[in-house]
């Protein structure tokens, strides 16, 4: 909600309010502390001698190295996307297994291109990774706005599937795709 909508670059921190910054630091601290607890388990309180400095260092490094925050993540969008992702990645695995384990290989590999409308860097990286995990497609190259997708079966048109996926990602990253109207202020 703080940086200009079209910022793909990394310098957008000047517009953040101190309240928001403090909030993000505390959320990060809780997250990293949870990560530490996951790693060492709850039975060893002495481990916090190492853990507290590690968590502080992690929060500092994250604040220092993090790219400009976009419009933040939409929790609702993420929750709505999670089941879709699980089902699709199941389908992806089953699809590959079926094609490969049959007596005759049923593949028709080929390349196709797809124009990305996603804006921010994080959303793009997320999308590119997702494409590789979902059925039949593998993101092969990204040049500017053009994503080269390798399809295991190019007789099936993958574009509608990719568009649907991009909509979901846009919702998670609070972006508006061009055909859905102008960007929110």
């Amino acid at each position: 909600m703080s940086s200009p909508p079209s910022s793909v670059d990394r310098d957008g921190t000047q517009g953040r309010s101190p309240v928001l910054a403090a909030l993000s630091v505390s959320v990060l601290t809780v997250l990293f502390a949870g990560l530490w607890l996951t790693l060492v388990g709850p039975t060893d309180p002495g481990s916090w001698i190492i853990g507290v400095p590690a968590v502080i260092a992690a929060v500092w490094a994250r604040q220092r190295l993090a790219p400009a925050p976009g419009r933040g993540l939409s929790l609702l969008g993420a929750l709505r996307f999670l089941p879709v992702f699980l089902i699709e990645s199941f389908k992806g695995g089953i699809d590959v297994a079926r094609r490969v384990l049959g007596t005759r290989l049923r593949v028709e590999p080929g390349l196709l291109t797809y124009r990305l409308s996603l804006d921010s860097r994080a959303a793009r990286v997320f999308f590119v990774d997702l494409v590789s995990l979902l059925p039949g497609t593998l993101s092969a190259d990204l040049q500017g706005d053009t994503l080269v997708v390798h399809a295991l079966d190019c007789r099936v048109d993958a574009a509608p599937e990719l568009l649907r996926l991009e909509r979901h990602v846009a919702r998670v990253f609070r972006e508006r795709l061009p055909e859905q109207g102008a960007p929110t202020p």
Binding site: T38, S89, G93, V107, L138
Partner: protein, 98 residues
């Protein structure tokens, strides 16, 4: 209790099936990019099912968190690695000559 064990066994077996499928794909598929498909998708699903089966056999919250962390890391690594490897192959780097 017994039912849970059967469920765990079934999940692990299903996971194994996907690992086998991934390896068969790696050996059978015709070109490098297609082999990447088998790797990223089948193996992630296989690991997910095996981890879920182990979790059903041994339901502990911190064990679950650790497994989740492993699965997320593997997924991120597989997807990013696949993209990087595919990019090299698509751009036709000369060193791919045998």
């Amino acid at each position: 209790m017994v039912a849970l064990h059967w469920l765990a066994a079934a999940l692990i077996l299903a996971g194994l099936l996907f690992f086998v499928a991934g390896t068969v794909g790696l050996l059978r598929l015709p070109d490098a990019l297609s082999r990447l498909h088998a790797l990223t998708k089948a193996d992630n699903l296989g690991l997910f099912l095996v981890a879920l089966g182990l979790l059903v056999a041994n339901p502990e919250p911190f064990f679950a968190l650790k497994l989740l962390l492993i699965w997320l890391l593997v997924m991120a690594a597989a997807a990013t690695g696949a993209h990087l490897i595919a990019k090299r192959a698509v751009r036709g780097d000369g060193e791919d000559a045998p």
